[in-house]
Amino acid sequence: VSAPKREPDFRGLGERIAREEDAILTRMEAAGPGPAFDPNRRVPKSAGAWVGTRAAIAAGALVAAAAGAVLFVRSRPLDLVVDGHAEAPGRWISAPAEAEVPIRFSDGTAFVLDPRASGRVSDVTRRGAHLMLDAGRARVSVTPNRGGQWQVTAGPFTVDVKGTKFDLTWTPAVQELNFVLTEGSVTISGCELGDARPIHRGERLFVSCLRHELRLESASAGTSSADAPVVDAPPATNDEPAPSAPSATAAPPSPPESLASVPAAPSARGAPAPDSWQSMARASRFADAMARVNDLGFDTELARAGRDDLVLLGDAARLTGDATHALTAYQRVRARAPGSDAAATAAFAIGRVYFDQRRAYADAARAFGTYLTERPRGPLAREAMGRRMEALSHAGDLSTAARVADEYLAKYPNGPHAPLARTLRTR
């Protein structure tokens, strides 16, 4: 008769470890206070305190060490420094209202987030990095380098960069992109642009996803191509276009300098007052907009807002870090206009709130999945699938993440989430 199998006593084990750890902490405290807390000091990230602690490498291993060091240097990703502090990729970066935030890499490449802009560097390799711009303006200067792999995404847009300088402004509340290329050339994909639209030095690009409007113009010529578009905007395909959205051909010509502040489509009830929270939000003054909303009463505005304003309200709340109000507004959109483009966009935005602000990855994955179900070929489909895969990975659901990774690579082999997809697929 075999002895009954014994179950490991993890609780007992944990108590033993905890007892020893508490004793270690007590000894550390008894040994004297550590360095005083410095509210302004961020410790540079390292791989651990291994430098020097492994100094006793056997002399006979020197050759191997040298070979390993070469491998190490070649494999090492670029260093990332955010606002003067060493940083790891993935952290959400939000520039304050009064200052820009420089993001620098060890090869000399720099992204500078303007005040109020936000985003994150989602991936850093030895050849480049991927900046995901949530909102606002980023000034980008990429050091030319053979084999460089730099990418900037903003909403549905992807900019593939080599050695280039450009300014990019993304206003998610109205889904508008302003792009000015000062050096080099890039390709931009997404929304009205289709795949890999080349942009050349000195060109300015404006795209409105909501209004299906696209303008490409030469800054040196100072002429707007709204009169004679370089690229024809495709016909509207949204099932619920904005009631008064102007068509591409009806859009008034505008000088280049006006590109940064293209007015939003007026609502059916007329253009909002300049000091309304809607105007502030459309001008990317999200904190001011939310302050105005709170003065007026969030619930009052929630009840009063039309569908498009609800999306705007959700975006303003999300981009000021107010996850609770953002979710409330987005969910109201979905309840009020089920099946509409706005409802699908709200599902995507809900996913972003859960992912970026709540770190509730399972909920985020569900929300991105909802968008994909409702708009499998929508302008945010690629991003939604990538973010869903990422969320599933964070939530620990690696088998589903791997399936989504396969699907992603089949559809978007060069998409911004392709490196992550390859990692998940091969696990």
């Binding site: 020893e20 410790v43 791989a47």
Partner: protein
């Protein structure tokens, strides 16, 4: 959550601190960027954060630096804390997030680099200062924990070493209850398998029929 003994005297009267009120005042001061508020936060919760960190990472040489980062992040994002009474749990969440980042970076470096970080042997003799058997068991435990996936390691440590309830572990890791159950289940299976190769852990693993 496992609590530390308040006193050795069995009949001593324990007067609970009015934590909620003091936390609200502290959070208000932090939001107002009152002078000294950051230091007050560190003084009030430094021990709590260090304890969460040592649970997740073991007695690590960088605990102090990571604790410093936890409080810097907390000061930067205090505006996002909606309920001041949740300050303690919120700090634990930041601590777990920072520790997770550090553990993941080390794993990545171990994959791409020639040198292995010292993670496998964080408990130096100096830090442990215990008898030979305890030292061997503790080192074996950290070796096993170091081989788990980072998320599984954190879930296992908070559940069994810190003694948190499942809901508390889920909150600290900012994931759903079902996710944390899955992670802990996965960690238990992996830990048991790896521990079988560590004789020094046999007694600590004990076991029940």
């Amino acid at each position: 959550m496992r609590t530390k003994p308040v006193t050795d005297r069995p009949n001593a009267e324990v007067i609970p601190l009015r934590r909620a009120e003091s936390d609200a005042a502290l959070v208000a001061a932090l939001r107002a960027r009152a002078p000294g508020a950051g230091h007050a936060l560190f003084a009030a919760y430094g021990e709590h954060v260090r304890r969460v960190l040592i649970r997740v990472m073991g007695p690590d040489a960088e605990l102090g630096d990571i604790a410093q980062d936890v409080f810097v992040v907390a000061l930067e994002s205090i505006g996002k804390l909606q309920n001041p009474q949740a300050l303690r749990g919120w700090l634990a969440q930041i601590a777990v997030f920072q520790a997770r980042g550090q553990l993941r970076r080390r794993k990545q470096w171990r994959i791409v680099g020639f040198f292995a970080p010292a993670e496998e042997e964080p408990a130096s003799e100096r830090a442990l200062d215990v008898d030979v058997e305890t030292s061997a068991a503790l080192k074996a435990a950290y070796r096993v924990l170091g081989k788990l996936g980072v998320d599984e390691r954190i879930a296992f440590a908070l559940r069994f070493i810190e003694g948190m309830e499942l809901t508390e572990v889920a909150a600290a890791c900012n994931v759903s209850l079902s996710t944390i159950k899955r992670r802990i289940g996965s960690a238990e299976a992996a830990f048991a398998k790896l521990a079988a190769e560590e004789p020094a852990l046999a007694e600590w693993m004990g076991g029940r029929s």
